[in-house]
């Protein structure tokens, strides 16, 4: 068995040599279920998120098959509504959030020289709450009765606008599954956020002042702080929705004088900072990968910290840019235009700092850097289409069209998922002890980037031609048919790329080249530990 505890100069490895008997299947399972170790929990989160990446991707493929031509009958309207609702809900809550908390769990203690997270048992409890929430959400497909023969999965769109979600208009249980599953997993998220904050503030090793922490840790600390005041508004309005549906409350009951717009406000007070919660960890990964593969320190560390904190605060004040069409006053609209444009400034600064890091460096285009570089171009475009959407009058046209979908998929897939792929290729050797295959990585990269651009570049245009979102089919005489076919084909190409990636993860677990402590020449503390770090 390969001895993976080779010390590097100056480090003290006091792990006693152990001869481990092979555990039985039950023992192995038991160990994983009861674990409170941050590394194991990190892996659990990441595996969970990867599974739901595939499930959410399947839902997207079903959507694209239905939309490949006008007047298609592949999915019934009810089934289609469930698909787009579950695709969005899954990708945000069961893929994005667990993935970022998985990376945080694994890396933050290692990067600050702590033994584990501040509250290991809370850590485990939070994971299982999140997992149960996902299970409950997916149980909806088979539980209860279904109006359209496909179970009762949520079908009210991922933002579940009122009063469509009230009992009067959604008599089945689909909305209940949505609200309850997310309330449960929301508490899990809250627990992990508290854990990360306490770990970063109270568990740093001697000498690790706040301004010496890796930017990855800074960003996840900021994200956790944001989560405290981001997830909780969602939990609150979901509790209100449950009160409306089960106790006869009138929070969003317009027939009793309630307000539909207040749901929109509450949801987007969660929803907008949420997308920053999702994107900041992507920035965190970029902050680690780009310097290492440019062989140059990050340019402007204090500016990056300030920009991250700035983004966190400003992003709390932009939510109503999702509601420009709801009928706010011109003054209200103008305020949110300004705040939205302002949040673009620190975001842009980050791109410039990454550019300056690469500038004058010696760039190695290994797999993590391939994805990290694609991120830069794609995030730039995403930010610019975001500026277009910030221009409220133009947003009155673009809102709820396929242009909007193209924009946010550019951010979520083109930037965030891209950065997470970079993170996978970068840290898989540390976590598993073996390198991911580079040939497969290049296939994954190029197929994904090509498919991504075929789909989402085209999607901007079909939105400009007037196609709204969340429609199960479209008229043949609108001129959207060919563009939709192109979009769907790009989707299938991306699916193949992701399957190659999933195969790579499994194949390299058994056959990958042994990684050693520091295969990339990284400078943060985790690279001084063996791969994988001993328990």
């Amino acid at each position: 068995m390969a001895d993976q505890t080779l010390p590097i100069a100056g480090s003290l490895d006091i792990t006693p040599p152990r001869v481990k008997e092979r555990a039985t299947a039950v023992e192995w399972l038991h160990e994983w279920v009861i674990t409170t170790d941050h590394k194991r929990l990190g892996i659990l989160y990441i595996v969970y998120a990867t599974f739901f990446l595939l499930v959410g991707g399947l839902e997207a493929m079903l959507i694209r098959i239905q939309l490949i031509k006008p007047d298609n009958h592949f999915l019934s309207p009810g089934a289609f509504d469930q698909m787009f609702t579950m695709h969005g809900t899954t990708m945000v809550f069961l893929m994005g959030m667990p993935l970022l908390f998985g990376f945080a769990n694994y890396l933050v203690p290692l990067m600050i020289g702590a033994r584990d997270m501040a509250f290991p048992r809370l850590n485990a409890f939070s994971f299982w709450l999140t997992a149960f929430g996902g299970l409950l959400l997916y149980y909806s497909f088979i539980g209860g009765y279904g109006l359209y023969g496909m179970g009762n999965a949520p079908d009210v769109a991922w933002f579940a606008y009122a009063p469509l979600t009230e009992r009067a208009f959604s008599p089945g249980h689909s909305t209940d599954y949505w609200a309850l599953a997310l309330i449960v997993s929301g508490f899990g998220t809250l627990g992990t956020a508290i854990n990360i904050i306490a770990t970063v503030l109270s568990m740093r090793c001697r000498g690790m002042t706040l301004l010496r922490m890796p930017l990855f840790v800074w960003l996840l600390f900021v994200v956790s702080g944001m989560t405290l005041v981001t997830i909780t508004p969602l939990t609150a309005c979901q509790i209100m929705l449950v009160i409306d549906r089960y106790l006869g409350g009138h929070f969003f009951d317009t027939q009793a004088g309630g307000s539909a717009t207040i749901w929109a406000h509450f949801f987007w007070i969660f929803g907008h900072p949420e997308v920053y919660v999702l994107v900041l960890p992507a920035f965190a990964i970029e902050n680690e990968v780009i310097p290492v593969f440019s062989r140059k320190a990050i340019f402007g560390y204090p500016a990056m910290v300030a920009a991250s904190v700035g983004i966190a605060f400003i992003s709390m004040g932009v939510w109503a840019h999702h509601m420009f069409t709801i009928g706010m006053t011109s003054v209200g609209n103008t305020f949110f235009v300004l705040s939205t444009m302002l949040v673009g400034i620190p975001t842009g600064i980050k791109i410039f700092n990454w550019l300056a890091t690469i500038w004058g460096g010696k760039v190695q285009f290994r797999p993590p850097m391939l994805f990290a570089t694609a991120f830069l171009f794609q995030f730039l475009i995403a930010g610019l289409t975001g500026i277009m959407l910030a221009v409220a009058p133009w947003d009155w046209q673009l809102h709820n069209s396929y242009f909007l979908i193209a924009h946010f998929h550019y951010v979520l897939v083109g930037a965030i998922v891209m950065a997470f792929f970079a993170g996978f290729y970068y840290w898989y050797p540390k976590i598993i002890g073996r390198m991911l295959d580079e040939t497969l990585a290049k296939w994954h990269f190029w197929l994904f980037v090509i498919g991504f651009h075929i789909t989402f570049d085209t999607m901007h245009f079909v939105g400009l031609l007037g196609m709204p979102r969340q429609i199960y089919t479209y008229e043949a005489d609108r001129g959207w048919g060919t563009l939709n076919t192109v979009v769907s084909i790009g989707g299938f190409i991306q699916a193949i790329a992701v399957l190659i990636f999933a195969y790579n993860l499994i194949h390299s677990y058994f056959r990958g080249r042994i990684a050693g402590n520091d295969p990339w020449g990284g400078w943060t503390l985790e690279w001084s530990r063996p791969s994988p770090p001993p328990d």
């Binding site: 501040a118 509250f119 809250l190 956020a193 508290i194 854990n195 904050i197 306490a198 770990t199 503030l201 109270s202 568990m203 740093r204 001697r206 000498g207 002042t209 010496r212 956790s224 405290l228 005041v229 981001t230 997830i231 909780t232 508004p233 939990t235 609150a236 309005c237 509790i239 209100m240 009160i243 409306d244 106790l247 006869g248 409350g249 009138h250 929070f251 009793a256 004088g257 309630g258 307000s259 207040i262 509450f266 007070i269 320190a297 400078w523």
Partner: protein, 196 residues
């Protein structure tokens, strides 16, 4: 590769306690939930289409409030006692805190009994009913959870398992109790003063 000098070992290295940080983070999160319920309450003031109005049915729960806010004082006093190791005094003040909290819950229960059976105000009567019971109920739930935790500690104290060395944890729990009292100040102001 770093040009930053390393911290000399002689310098003190102190970090905040993780219990305190964790509890403060929880408090910030819970404040988020309460804020949304308070905003909803304020937004819906005067918008009910029918039914009893706050002016008609709400009496200011002065005694309840005094009890709850005093319990913050008694818990603070008990913290001081355990710091000095006076376990008996601690136990007495802690029990008094619980008693005051229980009084608050009983008072709330009686208030709701009157509102439901005498005034006919329930959660589904009108917007006022919905927002009132939700907000006050959310707060009361937090009081109940706090009382359960406090009672657990009292049991530990009475059975001799609580030591002076646990005073840090007691302070963390007391933070939660102060938070619950702080929320009541906001809820009281919004519901019984502004909204009436």
């Amino acid at each position: 590769m770093s040009a930053i000098p390393v911290l000399p070992p002689a310098e003190p290295w102190s970090l905040p306690s993780r219990g305190r940080v964790g509890m403060l983070s929880l408090i910030i999160g819970e404040s988020g939930i309460f804020t949304i319920f308070v905003v909803a309450y304020i937004y819906y003031i005067g918008k009910s289409l029918s039914g009893p109005t706050p002016q008609q049915v709400l009496d200011i729960p002065l005694f309840n409030t005094i009890c709850l806010l005093s319990s913050s004082v008694t818990i603070w006093l008990s913290e001081r006692q355990i710091e000095r190791g006076n376990m008996k005094a601690f136990g007495a003040l802690w029990a008094l805190t619980i008693a005051l909290g229980i009084e608050f819950i009983i008072g709330t229960f009686l208030e709701w009994k009157k509102l439901i059976f005498v005034d006919g105000l329930t959660i589904h009567t009108n917007l006022f009913g919905t927002t009132f019971y939700s907000l006050v109920g959310l707060h009361a739930t937090h009081v109940v959870v706090g009382l359960l935790m406090l009672t657990l500690v009292l049991i530990f104290a009475l059975t001799g398992h609580l030591k002076e060395s646990h005073c840090e944890r007691i302070q963390v729990l007391a933070l939660y109790w102060h938070f619950v009292d702080g929320v009541w100040v906001v809820v009281f102001t919004v519901v019984y003063i502004v909204g009436r």
